[in-house]
Symmetry: C2
């Protein structure tokens, strides 16, 4: 008998230290946004750059390469769906991508991103794009260099997407956008013609601490595991998994947008539940984490929108919210509240956008990224391009760059190819939801009494536990029986908002 | 002309990434005590072990060894007091020590300490020493192994002390103790015979947040740089420098011991001012940090005791404290308050101990450590040994192990050889203080109006800026004109408490 575990175990031992380093980088990143005093920028930049460089060096070392070869040879004798075989496959894919990127590049990217992120904070505070532009210029150039490491690809942007959405092509995303764009622009247009319902309670002042307590009640009911996670404040909400047993989420606090805080908490909890639900078998391996950003986003979108903005959810939670805020909500009905939180508005701000306009915000960003990376527009022209696009899609123009091109942190940390995953996530969230509803005909009754364990366990069983061990395409197919598709999402959107606004879908 | 900077610059480039890793380890440690959810123990243990192991591997690599040789050769042509020459010397000393300790040992130590620290928390909460004992057993064995790497030494404990107090010998510490012990035991005895003054205001309830606000006012006046540091809560107060531009302190909150919180904040600020005061020239080198734990402790002791428990300090701050707590302190005089916060009591708890008994707490621990490391007693016997010693020195016996052997975190993270540095620190604090007073005859006037900038800048100029670039022995000599000595401290103690309690020193 051959001891088939040996080569794979040897690979795992090497990989586990890379996972430790990446977890440390994640912690340093969390700290930078949550705890770091302003003077700590340089020291954090140094730590992050060194750790990422060492992780990259170790991962791309000849030692790991040969351990991987041995493990791959060993895995050929295992069923391809077995855990070790999937683990080796994921590791090999990551390795093949990583060896194309030199360590010096990784270190430079980290340093540039650290400085750019600080510049973005300042630029956003002052609404002065010029403070960010030279940093963005460097990051775009780094993005182009990065894409070049993956030649030949059909489109340079493919290499960037592939980091976040393995296997997805620029052309596929453009096809998806081409289907969504006219239907969503038309839906927005039709809704715009309907009278605006007033929902003054959305603009009342709500006590921060009381709203945080309520949002904590909600995400606890969702199943956020506080023994393996925490929640803090930061400028921009995010989820930072430091392994699946320490998953941290943040929320942005704002007296004037209390419900955004609440929905952001649900959103980040969706991410957190995914990470916390990964099987312990994958701990300290590269399989630990989400299958892709899009699949990840399907989880945040599901809890935030499909659940968190639904009638059954608020049947349970609205009375509880009313109890906390009697003066603001005492005279509001469940239906008024439901309609209020699902108001469609041409907002300038992506994170405040409703379901109908959200994908349009994404498209605008993805189109700018593709143009920047292809050199079709310069970073200096980007704000004008931004303003033209948002006018085209939503009929509005930002009053300031802070409310326009400076609103998101993504580019300031070098995230190109990422935004599309929000839309992919929207599509997958509804595909999963429709599948779940078939498996659990009692879903509505559960949700309207605040019982989310059945859904959460269904997600854990079908999706979360697998971590990155299946390709996103295969995973979605495996669970829903279909590849990622636009139809369920458009149907969901047009049906929900058609009913809300009394408009019938133009295209159907 | 030879370019003399080349070899040293090359060494610095290699060392800087080790400093980055150590800073990351420091951040992970801070996080473990301040932010980590309970489930994060394993992932933190993994990160800390891997990062410390890599730092150790890199520091002890042949590449670094040969870069150090080249740099040392280059440094022979430089004045021995020049910055680069001192830097090379510090690096060489650290290297010579590090190459004796195998990487596997470092990783094992980190893992064992991580588990032991969690066990200690539980043991302390339950006052159940048995939960800690098996972990402590492992740590003692690791301590013995560590000492063996430094053979030959006059005493195995020398190797452990040397980590924290470079150049200090077990015999020197024993000599110091032999001078201090009878004088301090006698002072305690003499004070015990005096009537106990009541100070009920020490036992009043004080609002946590108000006291935190006051302590923040005090440490801000001391000069804690909030742009390069922060303060949080933790079980045990500590200072964690993540480089000199991000220095974090913690405080322990307790409604019933509000003044301990206040003095702990002053104490940790003393450490923080040292780290924040290191010259930026030493950033990302091994010189960044304090010359030794004893010298570090001299700074915390100076701000906590020599300043923070003095009459001039409270001439400024007592009226401000009274304003915050009129019901508790409105009827208390400055002199009553001064006497209250300098009460001598046979406390069971080191961190609550006064100046007169503190060194006796230290001696007891150091004597146990020496006995444990030498195998003269077993970890199972340690609680009984502890209780016997504290009875001998202070005439009291712990009611529970939580108030006895389980009170300090040090051993649970493998810190053997550390405790003596508290006493060294006490001695140096007064030596420095006497020197400062000669240099600044206006000292009393400044302190009683809350002006600490002159003292802080004197410390920065004479001590802080140099980081680890001088050996502690040389540094103390350089500043005070004397080696570390017991006389100034005993004189300070006997004079301050002789006056307070109306007792005359027995030995003079």
């Amino acid at each position: 008998m051959n001891d088939t575990s040996t080569a794979i175990a040897k690979l795992n031992a090497l990989v586990s230290e890379i996972v430790d380093l990446r977890n440390a980088a994640s912690l340093i990143g969390w700290d930078e946004h949550v705890s770091m005093p302003p003077g700590g920028v340089a020291v954090h930049g140094g730590m992050a750059a060194t750790i990422q460089r060492i992780a990259h060096e170790k991962f791309t070392s000849p030692q790991l390469g040969s351990a991987l070869e041995d493990a791959a040879r060993e895995a050929t004798s295992l069923p391809s769906d077995s855990e070790p075989a999937r683990l080796v496959k994921v590791t090999a894919r990551d390795y093949d991508r990583a060896v194309r990127v030199p360590s010096e590049f990784v270190a430079e990217q980290a340093l540039v991103a650290s400085a750019a992120h600080q510049a973005w904070k300042e630029a956003r505070a002052q609404s002065n794009y010029a403070l960010l532009q030279p940093h963005l210029e460097k990051l775009v150039r780094l993005g182009q260099q990065y894409a070049a490491f993956f030649q030949p690809v059909a489109h340079p942007y493919d290499a960037l997407i592939d980091t976040y959405e393995p296997g997805m092509l620029t052309s596929e995303i453009q096809d998806i956008f081409d289907v969504l764009r006219p239907r969503q622009v038309e839906l927005v247009r039709a809704i715009q013609e309907r009278p605006v319902e007033q929902a003054p309670f959305l603009k009342s002042a709500y006590d921060e601490r009381e709203m945080l307590a309520f949002s904590t009640e909600v995400i606890s009911a969702f199943g956020f595991d506080w023994t393996r996670g925490r929640q803090d404040k930061s400028t921009h909400p995010f989820a930072a998994p430091i392994g699946s047993d320490d998953v941290r989420i943040t929320t942005r606090f704002d007296n004037y947008h209390p419900f955004e805080m609440l929905f952001a908490a649900m959103h980040e909890t969706g991410h957190a539940l995914y990470e916390q639900g990964v099987s312990p078998a994958w701990a300290r391996t590269l399989v630990c984490g989400g299958a892709s950003q899009g699949v990840h986003e399907s989880q945040s979108r599901m809890w935030e929108n499909v659940i968190g903005r639904s009638r059954p959810f608020w049947r349970h939670f609205f009375p509880l919210l009313q109890q906390r805020f009697p003066s603001q909500l005492g005279g509001v009905t469940h239906e008024q509240f439901y309609r209020g939180i699902n108001q469609v508005k041409q907002s300038l701000i992506r994170v405040e956008a409703d379901e109908v306009t959200y994908n349009l915000h994404v498209m605008l960003r993805v189109e700018i990224e593709i143009a920047l990376l292809a050199g079709a527009i310069s970073t200096k022209d980007a704000p004008a391009y931004w303003n033209a696009k948002i006018r085209e899609y939503l009929g509005i123009v930002p009053d300031t760059d802070a409310n326009g091109i400076l609103q998101d942190m993504h580019w300031s940390i070098g995230l190109f190819g990422y935004f599309a995953t929000y839309t992919i996530g929207n599509l997958i969230s509804v595909q999963l939801w429709e599948t779940y509803k078939k498996d659990d005909p009692q879903w509505e009754g559960r949700i309207q009494v605040g019982e989310f364990a059945t859904l959460r366990e269904w997600l854990r069983e079908s999706l979360h536990q697998h971590g990155r061990s299946y390709q996103p395409r295969d995973l979605v197919m495996r669970i829903t029986g279909h590849s990622v598709s636009t139809a369920p999402y458009l149907e969901y959107l047009e049906s929900k908002y058609g009913e809300l606004y009394g408009v019938s879908p133009a295209a159907t």
